[in-house]
Symmetry: C2
Subunit: 336 residues, 2 copies
């Protein structure tokens, strides 16, 4: 009786749960990048491993830097009318959209189950895109210690909360020790002079795949706006999930023909930094609207979706926001 009830509840709550996913095709590729010459470096010699043979690496020569990795999955049946891009934020990779740190299905699964051809990328400088010599090509990287996302991504209740182990009331991020450690294992360093490479690679990606609906998180949101200002023809819709910045305000009119959805989670106004970021995003949205564009501005708590950290797609109620995005995309005629 109890397990039958549980099963019924599960089926209602997540109709697709535990159903297989059929992929018409899947795979990966790299796009973009440029060639850089390195010279004047000493040769490196080492014995790679027990039973190996000594290795002599001359690091001087031509490098391909600024390329970007994309993994695609095309489900059958397909219901999305355009490809769906999932772009991650700073210090992160495409893993953002895969299984959550506490082992639930991520937004990648959510959108695949609804028939979207998905493209998950690792932005330039990180993950499977690789990186480049520093400081020769990329600036020295910045690393995030464990307390930083806890306190900066609106999981904990402010400075010192990681050490205290305290969270914002009703917080939905999986904060048990094992899940948070799993999240920190996903965190990668950030280089500070790669913006132009990242933008160029996103353009190369969209040129290869074709006009798409783009869901972009945090730093990825700022990049998405900037990419869209250069190549509005490559965007059919743009969903900005807590963008950490904006496009260029004087070029706001370039975005007037792209339907845009702007989403922020909970605790934003009480946070000294996120409140500024959202204010900037709203001012930028106003500039787009003033030029004749459409930006729908969603404050999740005012829709009854509460407790969200900056990592909405990993929060326990993350699928509520995914559903909101799904409904909005369908409402734009991009899903049938």
């Amino acid at each position: 009786m109890r397990s039958a009830g549980l099963l019924a509840w599960l089926c209602l709550a997540a109709p697709a749960l535990a159903q297989p996913i059929t992929l018409d095709r899947f795979g990966s590729f790299h796009v973009g990048g440029r060639q850089v010459e390195i010279s004047g470096k000493p040769v490196i010699e080492y014995l790679p491993t027990v039973g190996g043979a000594p290795l002599r690496i001359d690091p001087n020569g031509t490098y391909v830097v600024g390329g970007m990795y994309a993994q695609f999955m095309v489900p059958a049946p397909m219901r999305g009318q355009v490809p769906l891009m999932l772009w991650h934020g700073a210090y992160l990779t495409g893993v953002t959209y895969e299984t959550t740190p506490d082992g639930r299905e991520g937004w990648l699964h959510f959108f695949l189950r609804r028939g979207w051809a998905t493209y998950v990328t690792d932005a330039v400088e990180r993950g499977r895109s690789g990186t480049a010599m520093s400081p020769d090509i990329f600036s020295p990287p910045v690393f995030l210690p464990s307390f930083n996302p806890w306190e900066r991504f609106r999981i904990g209740d402010g400075a010192g909360s990681f050490a205290r182990g305290t969270t914002l009331p009703g917080n939905q991020f999986p904060t048990d020790r094992e899940s948070y450690t799993a999240f920190m294992r996903q965190v990668v360093p950030r280089y500070l002079n790669t913006d132009e490479d990242v933008i160029a690679a996103y353009i190369a990606l969209l040129e290869r795949v074709g006009p798409s609906a783009v869901v972009a998180h945090s730093q990825g949101g700022a990049f998405a706006w900037q990419v869209a200002q250069r190549r509005p023809d490559l965007f059919r819709a743009l969903v900005l999930v807590e963008p950490a910045g904006t496009g260029v305000e004087t070029d706001a009119a370039k975005l007037k023909d792209i339907p845009q959805l702007l989403i922020y989670g909970d605790y934003v106004d009480a946070d000294p930094r996120w409140s500024v970021i959202r204010r900037n995003a709203r001012r930028f949205s106003d500039a787009i609207r003033a030029a004749g564009g459409q930006v729908e501005d969603v404050d999740l708590p005012s829709r009854g979706i509460r407790g969200n950290s900056h990592m909405i797609m990993m929060d326990r109620n993350g699928d509520e926001t995914a559903q909101l995005i799904q409904d909005w995309l369908a409402g734009r005629g991009l899903w049938r």
Copy 2:
């Protein structure tokens, strides 16, 4: 008539070509790692992006380093009797087993299509496993310029061949400019003091997933032998594809109960470095056999599989070697 003939040929040559793949489940997780304290570093301040808010990163604190990323795909129907691990080599990531640089399906597809639950990892220090502060935690990284794999992985015909654009006769690696650039975009830096972290993470992976058949390439092969010496209970079979090193020879007996398949491609004996590496691997295999173990030693050219570079899984005839591995695994009762 012509296209019907072509279709028939395609169906015979690759029965599974263009068939959808059904996944019972898929996703990713990180395993392993350890905590490290960093102190005494200056705070970093920067403006992340247009429309953002200034950021102040205190890099001092606790880091989780040495974790490892794994992406799993469990097909339906499943015919593999144990999970299948695909471990990559040095300066590379799990992308090794995905789509080839010239856009063909990779060994990941090959084994999924035959019903293996697959686990593709990015070893510690690279890809979606992230990295750690250098030189504080990991040694300074080594980068490979474009000429290096061309000349070292038995694609080109020796020193200077990248500049000349020449290859070994009958070489099977996709060497057109676009494909080779796609391959170089996959290349990531290598840190030289991470071996113990890598071994610990592979053990954590196998402890989580359970006893597996492991296919390991190059540096991954040396790691696989070393991991298996520490935890032989976690291996049901071990396929070493051009291992770049061995295990510890005095502990060879620890591998006596694991069926092992050792594979090297073409042009090995003529290469001053690979000939040494294979000689070491054969001596190590002899030590395993002397202890009562079984290592089947396959020289691909002597089986009529010719022209293979070090990157056999990317070579145009890569599926012939995948089929050889498949048949060998089936012969060990691990596939039905």
